[in-house]
Amino acid sequence: MNLELFIPELVLAGTAIAVILLDLFVRHKGVLTAISLIGIAVAAGFAISLWNGSPQAIFNDMLAVDNFGIFFKLLFLFIAAMVILVSIDYVNKLARFQGEYHALLLFATLGMMLMAAATDLISVFVSLELTAISFYLLVGFLKDNRSTESSLKYILLGGVASAVLLYGMALTFGFTGETQLAGITRSIQETTASSSLLASPGLVFGLVLLIAGFGFKIAAVPFHMWAPDVYEGAPTPVTLYLSVGSKVAGFAVILRVFFSAFGLPEALSIDWGMAFAVLSAVSITLGNILAIQQSNIKRMLAYSGIAHSGYIMISLATTGLSGSAEVIGQSSTLFYVVAFALADLAAFAAIIAISNKANSDLIKDYSGMGKRAPVLALVLTLGLISLTGLPPAAGFIAKFYIFSGAAANGLLWLVIIAVLNSAISAFYYLRVAKLMWLGKPSGESGVPSSPALRLVLAITCIGILLFGIAPSLLIKLAEMAAAMFAF
């Protein structure tokens, strides 16, 4: 086997272990941040060098090295780097365990990278659990009342969801005798060629359990209810990582598993496509309606994240309904997750800076922020505009992309629901913006931000505007990454 193809993951694992060991010796903890960032950069460099090579399977077909996986790996590495940068202030407040914090962040990243590349139910499951367990620990890292409560809720519900997911995997395995995704689809086609799918309710049940298990990861309604509580209590950088990293990883897995293992026969893919369509409609509507009520900005973004999972699920539904002829479902998912990640990163980075100073996550405390901290307020506004889906932000193109794919595949009703909901969402997103720019400042003092944070703000802003104004580049990459699904 060619171990070169596995270097990005190895580098990351090595970096994590190095960080733990170094923590014992170095006094100046900034070194840990630097080492983590260097490790991420090196891993990203190796990942880029693998881009656009011919797709290969390694470790006995447990893992694929292809553009789709590399696209996500790079995205996760980018998000991880941003999260480490925004964590600096937070980490400095910790009396100890800085090394462990970074190591767990890197382990979670490693888990997500493996999730995006896994092509066997066993490796999917183990890497998913690696991510999940790292996150359970990160969420509880503060050890105060809220943080531990979040962690407890997350692990208990995550445990139930894992069991549900495993039950689904067991039924799938039992029906097909395979754990490899390609083998599963081969076996399903052989056994169901003659009879209708309804004759095998075990497969349908297994599929639904898989949807539920993965749906928990992406916080799709009705598997979403942990998300707001956990997001609120977790340390904000972890909330950020959870809301972009873990969620995007969930979508990466769903895309690969559902398309590779259940993409054929068509009756099956239409079944799960419709299931995702309905979940999507419910998620979008509920996420938006509940977001309106929130007074805590982290909670608001949690509900908004649920709504965004709904928007992304539109493209999953498109994937299911369009069959293998088109890849617009997949490529639009890829575009959307990037746009969503950038917007959420921008918004959260600003929130971290503001809540450091104001010591509050309440929306009303953002009043007049435009006067106290114009740059932060501007970035937050841009992030919110992108989340709303207004031009010239990337979120606009992302929504357009997904909607156009869905409408072309007979999901016009869903697009209409989604568009109406986007209007509702404008209300609560822009309410924050309005409060910041037009509200009365609650204090006179400005809001300081560290250079690292400013770097994140700048990068995300440029990204949002770049992909909003000149989206062709990213679309091209997304199409290249999704091309492997066409056959």
Binding site: A13, F59, A103, F107, E129, S200, P201, F205
Partner: protein, 162 residues
């Protein structure tokens, strides 16, 4: 015939002990029933010709997890309070019954591709081969190792005082 008797015996024990885990007021006894449940699951593994797995089940679940749970019960003085039900009894029972119904329906109505071949025995050497060779499951083993490392680190972080 002996296999069948063993199955029914073990299955009954497993179900009864599982019910005891979730229904007993005394948490300490519930934990002991969990051990019994794990043991009977190990027995079921034996009836399925998975001897190595049965050993793993006993070693890890009974020897480690159950002990850990009992330790936690003692640390949190939960025995005094007991295991009480919450307010969701009826909806949960209804949902679980329905879930069981759907599961049984799916199990009974699905044409499983049962093969007539005899099971692989003994499994220990075979399992070792498939776990630790390049053509096998070495990748998940490696990931699992990292997962355990993360668990250990995290548990230390959470347990130690600030």
């Amino acid at each position: 015939m002996g296999l069948e008797i063993a199955f029914w015996l073990l299955a009954t024990t497993a179900v009864v002990s599982a019910i005891a885990v979730v229904r007993l007021r005394n948490i300490f006894r519930a934990a002991l029933c969990l051990i019994l449940c794990f043991l009977s699951i190990a027995g079921i593994f034996v009836t399925l010709s998975a001897d190595f797995l049965a050993a793993v089940q006993i070693l890890i679940n009974v020897g480690a997890i159950a002990i850990l749970i009992i330790l936690a019960i003692m640390l949190t003085r939960e025995v005094e309070r007991g295991s009480l039900p919450n307010k969701l009894q009826f909806p949960v029972i209804a949902a679980c019954t329905l879930f069981l119904g759907v599961a049984v329906f799916a199990i009974v109505r699905t044409p499983w591709q049962v093969s007539g071949l005899p099971p692989t025995e003994p499994t220990t050497a075979e399992l070792a081969n498939s776990l630790f060779t390049e053509g096998g499951f070495i990748l998940p083993v490696e990931i699992a190792a990292i997962l355990l490392l993360a668990t250990i680190i995290g548990a230390i972080v959470l347990m130690r005082e600030k």
